[in-house]
Amino acid sequence: MDNSEFYEKEQKNENIPRKGKGRTLFVVLISVFCLVIFGGGISFFTGEDKAFSESENRVLAAMPSLSLYSLKEGTFMKDFETYLTDQFVFRDRIVELKTLFDRMTGKTKAGGVYIGKDGYLFSVPSSFDETGMESITAKISAFADSNKDSRITFMMSPNSSFVYADKLPDKLSLADQSYQIEDIENFTQSKSIDFINLSDVFLSKKDEVQLFYRTDHHWTTQAAKIAFDELMNRWKKPVKDVNFRFMAAADGFQGTLSSKSGVSSAADVIEICVPQNSAQTYVVDYGNGEKKAASLFDSSKLETKNKYEVFMGGNYGRVTVETTSSEKDTLLIIKDSYANCMLPMFTPFFSKIVVIDPRYSEERISAVTEENTFTHILFLYNLDTFLGDTSLEEKL
């Protein structure tokens, strides 16, 4: 609460500091004020510059270079202010304090993240742009029509703010993602696309299984498995023959929503799910032969801030998985990061899996389908990424 107004009248009337009376107290005020501004100033000169902020996970601004041009254009002054605030003493502590304040005053939104109940954090969903959706679904339909020999499925997941809407802050209601996904399905004209809207199955299971991380925008591996079963059911693949095992890979997971809002609430556990019984192995090629590995996991990432990278070790434009599976089927996945934790589940059922993330890929998807033939093609997206991303449309 600001009590400055409270004193305004006093200052105007009897309490304008006057000689003599209460002088020592003025000296206290003056000293503290000067201490703060001089102290802050001196700390710029004495403190060591940090190049990288661990808590914000970004490169901090360095002292801008001084030149006649940067002065004339004013860019020096602007960069200098960024430099000062980036390198300010106790910066991390200060940010924590601010978050604390906001929570105390009842704010339910911080850094563009809704702070929900039971430790759930939610990202603000992307808005639905009808014309954009019409044009991208037209592209997808055209792609499907030119790959009629493959079985093409489009699977889309809603986001946690829809599935766990009951955990949103009071009074907050957001757009119905189930309808939005249906709209996208209706826009998609091609007959050769099989569409899976995961909204209903998720809504029916949301209370027995934790489908989304509380502090991260991804779905959990449990949710991925439910989606996987739906898909295999459509594809008439015998999931029952394979034994899947869940293993906890890391606890204390504070995901992106936690960093973004500065709110560390309930930590989550990251699980991995691997097919068990078959003795088959696989070779993974991340990128164009740059990095070969025998695993779809990168356990070194469990030591880093972003533990979700344990799946596939991050994002790659193109990943090729060759398995020793006896199946003849081959699979192309065009996806966002939701697919990363699902990928290992496919390995018993396909001899070759190519995974394309259009955002980090330079090649056109049609080039990939011309070069190889696939029995199955899967588009796997969460609604939020699908609405906000333009790269799929460009690469198709």
Partner: protein
Amino acid sequence: MSRSGAVQLICVFLLIAFIGVSFFGREDTDKAAAEIAEAVTAQVSTEGLQEFGSERLFSQLGLSGEDFDSFVYYGSEDIMDVREILIIRGREDSDLDAVKAHIGKKAEEKYSTYKDYDPVASALLEKRVLEVSSGAIIYIVHDDAASGREAFLRCVED
């Protein structure tokens, strides 16, 4: 006329000169892109970058090289390396502001792809420079983008 009267007159002339120089006039540079690029790359290291032709310019930025008097384009083979240097010298009829807006949109898309994915690349993209001056454009994503910009302006405006 008094001395103070003379000073007032001088002030009026200086004001008119200031407005004239700042807002009206300034001819297009007669230098070709190669010459400007030379000045820029003298300040900005091109190590690890290579010069590309119009094919790449089109695939990366959607610009057609024939629309311009000349251009020089450096980029990297490695997709995770976002560094780029592009110098365009426009023709009389080219609408460089439209080209600038187009590149700006591309750059923003690229930035949003790397934002929240790769801290180093997005820091580079954050300090990218895109500017039109005297009939030429510079677009540069580089550690030394600021000095590249300075060299560019110095070269085209002199």
